[in-house]
């Protein structure tokens, strides 16, 4: 059982405030991913949970026990580092045995745990090798093995895939998902890669500038982003965010094009932000057709589909998913139309989601 509770966590380094009050509860066996742009505080938060840096203000409670002043090694938490941080002077077996012995386990216990971890991670043939003799993916597995052997209640993973090449990355990603199902521990995973977040997480915590923007299941974040930051961060290519004017029966774009909409947020007429994902737009070469004026910037051909990036008259970049047989040339004038039910509405002032 591992339930974590972060209450009003703040962190400052000297005069720089990095985290501005984080409240978050994480349940047993949950796989939570912290995601956000670099500098958003996600790794700092992970280090506070690990105990590697002191918490400036607020409380971290693990299973009803306040952890603020408990040293890292006594928290029942293991961490996998971005650089793997294997001990170069110990072979794979010793790397895994080091922490286990320090926990006061007997020799047969240590051996049994290493055997189990080695089997799970297919490390058996590598036990006598030194880290410098291993590939990146193998080192990664040893780093995970070292955490497993300690049988922690909580696993922390700090950008564990960022040092691997693309092909290996998706392989190890699957491996981590499998491990989580197999051992069922609570896992907290930090990444800036939204694909990792979407594929691995039970719940994603989107962070920005030291604050949590939204917490939710991947589908929830994708379908109902709480604000423009989350809307722009989750999904690739990005959701287009367009400034429009709300009228009584629809919206007016900067270029004067109008769009009648059956469903609008409850508010007076005035400025509004809409968000539309690439798959909800469609493109037409027929300049007389209804829709919004735009010009093509460039086209990305991806095989099964293509993305056409267009620019509205006010300069907003809009990505549109098309089939690969309609390729558009740069500077071509086009008309964009949009699926009305796929429009997200956000406040023009603070970017919060407006229900429609």
């Amino acid at each position: 059982m591992a339930r974590l509770s972060l209450r009003g966590i703040k962190k400052s380094f000297k005069t720089a405030n990095v985290l501005h009050g984080i409240d978050l509860d994480i349940g047993d066996r949950e796989f939570v991913v912290f995601v956000g742009p670099s500098g958003c505080g996600k790794s700092t938060l992970l280090r506070l949970i690990a105990g590697l840096d002191p918490i400036t203000e607020g409380e971290f409670v693990l299973n009803d026990q306040r952890m603020n002043d408990v040293p890292p090694s006594k928290r029942g938490i293991a961490m996998v580092f971005q650089s793997y941080a294997l001990y170069p002077h110990m072979d794979v077996y010793e790397n895994m045995a080091f922490g286990a012995r320090l926990m006061g386990l007997t020799k047969p216990e240590v051996e049994a745990r290493i055997a189990e971890a080695a089997r799970m991670l297919r490390l058996e043939p590598l036990l006598k090798r030194y880290p410098r003799e291993l590939s990146g993916g193998q080192r990664q597995r040893v780093a995970i093995g070292r955490a497993l052997v300690r049988k922690p209640e909580v696993f922390l993973l700090d950008e564990p895939l960022s040092n691997l090449d693309a092909a290996l990355r998706s392989e190890v990603r699957l491996e981590i998902a499998r491990l989580h199902r197999q051992i069922g521990g609570t896992m907290i995973y930090v990444t800036h890669d939204q694909v990792e977040a979407m594929t691995l997480a039970d719940r994603i915590v989107v962070m920005n500038l030291g604050r949590i923007e939204q917490v939710g299941a991947p589908r929830e974040l994708y379908e109902t982003p709480a604000n423009t930051f989350v809307a722009g961060f989750i999904g690739s290519p990005k959701m287009a965010l367009v400034n429009v004017q709300k009228t009584s029966d629809g919206i007016t774009f900067a270029g004067g094009d109008t769009l009648a909409l059956p469903r609008l947020p409850a508010m007076g007429d005035g400025p509004l932000k809409i968000g539309v994902r690439p798959d909800a737009w469609s493109l037409s070469r027929d300049l007389a057709s209804p829709g919004i004026a735009a010009s093509v910037v460039y086209t990305e051909y991806l095989g099964e589909n293509a993305f056409v990036y267009t620019r509205l008259t006010d300069g907003t970049l809009v990505g549109v998913r098309t089939t690969p047989n309609e390729l558009y040339e740069p500077d071509e004038s086009v008309r964009l139309s949009v699926d009305p039910v796929a429009i997200h509405y956000f406040s023009a002032e603070d970017g919060r989601r407006l229900p429609a």
Binding site: P71, K74, Y87, G99
Partner: protein
């Protein structure tokens, strides 16, 4: 083959240092080797006498006793400095590395004495250890421990140790700096990884930090070994050419110098015996230093 401009440049840069090394390093070593096999009358080279000079300094009294005495002192100096200089240096480096309060100031303070000339350090410590108005004894009397005040340099029980302390104070900054540089190469994530597994500083030091600074240890150990068996300046300045009192601070360097070049109490210069001693010291240092280097290199790890 015609020389290009670049070739001339390279030659001009290489030849002077090569000539310097040949003249002042290689030639003296080779010369000492040959001198050791001849009988010398002052500056006049006599007959080839084979290994007689070596036999004399190693096995014939009183030379053999003097050699043994000096050699024993060198060993004591080496062991003591290993603990006082390198051991303390390691822990100091660890403290500086962990950024204990005042680390910035101490990083400089610890290294500062290394910059001082040995002559100055020797002279200062001679003053510090003066039996009547030396700062050591004044301090002891000041805190009511006057009974512990000693004529540090004037009695055979403390004289060598006094020199060792002075040397340790002088050179402590060097191993500290080398170890500190070694520690700073350890990735911070590796330290974080250890902290996730233990909070014991002792385990961190012995199981992680120490093995990882092995390359620094090799350098520091070898240099200390060479330095300890070539020890000359400090005992010469503080205790004089005779290793006074009564040879209690005599070391191979002083003994060699006295024998080869003569002295007030040691009589005529004898290049033959002196060269034999120099060759023995050289061979001993070269052999042991190579063994140490090879053995320690094997422990080194690529970070």
């Amino acid at each position: 083959m015609r020389m290009t401009g670049r070739g001339w440049w390279i030659t001009a840069l290489i030849v002077p240092p090569m000539a310097f090394v040949a003249l002042f390093i290689i030639y003296p070593i080779v010369a000492a080797f040959t001198y050791a096999f001849f009988d010398w009358q002052g500056l006049l080279r006599g007959d080839f006498i084979g290994l007689a000079n070596f036999h004399k300094v190693l096995f014939e009294e009183p030379y053999a006793a003097w050699t043994r005495n000096a050699f024993t002192h060198n060993i004591m100096v080496f062991v003591a400095l290993m603990v006082l200089q390198n051991g303390l240096g390691f822990f100091l480096a660890y403290a500086l590395w962990r950024e204990l309060p005042g680390a910035r100031f101490h990083r400089i303070a610890v290294f500062l004495p290394v910059v001082l000339s040995t002559v100055i350090v020797g002279y200062l410590f001679k003053l510090f250890m003066h039996p009547l108005f030396g700062v050591f004894n004044i301090s002891l009397r000041g805190i009511g421990l006057g009974g512990l005040a000693q004529p540090w340099l004037g009695q055979d029980s403390t004289a060598l140790w006094a020199l060792i302390i002075a040397n340790a104070w002088h050179m402590l900054g060097f191993p500290t700096l080398v170890f500190l540089a070694g520690m700073q190469r350890i990735p911070t994530e590796m330290l974080d990884a250890v902290r996730m597994e233990t909070q014991s500083e002792w385990v961190k030091i012995t199981k992680i930090v120490w093995p990882l600074v092995a390359p620094s240890a090799t350098v520091v150990f070898v240099l200390l070994f060479v330095g300890a068996f070539n020890w000359f300046e400090l005992p010469y300045i503080m205790a004089g050419l005779d290793g006074s009192p009564y040879g209690s601070t005599d070391v191979l360097g002083l003994y060699f110098y006295r024998t080869a070049f003569g002295g007030v109490s040691s009589g005529q210069p004898n290049f033959g015996l002196g060269s034999a001693l120099a060759v023995l010291i050289f061979v001993f240092i070269a052999a042991i230093a190579s063994v140490i280097t090879v053995r320690l290199r094997a422990r080194e790890i690529q970070l």
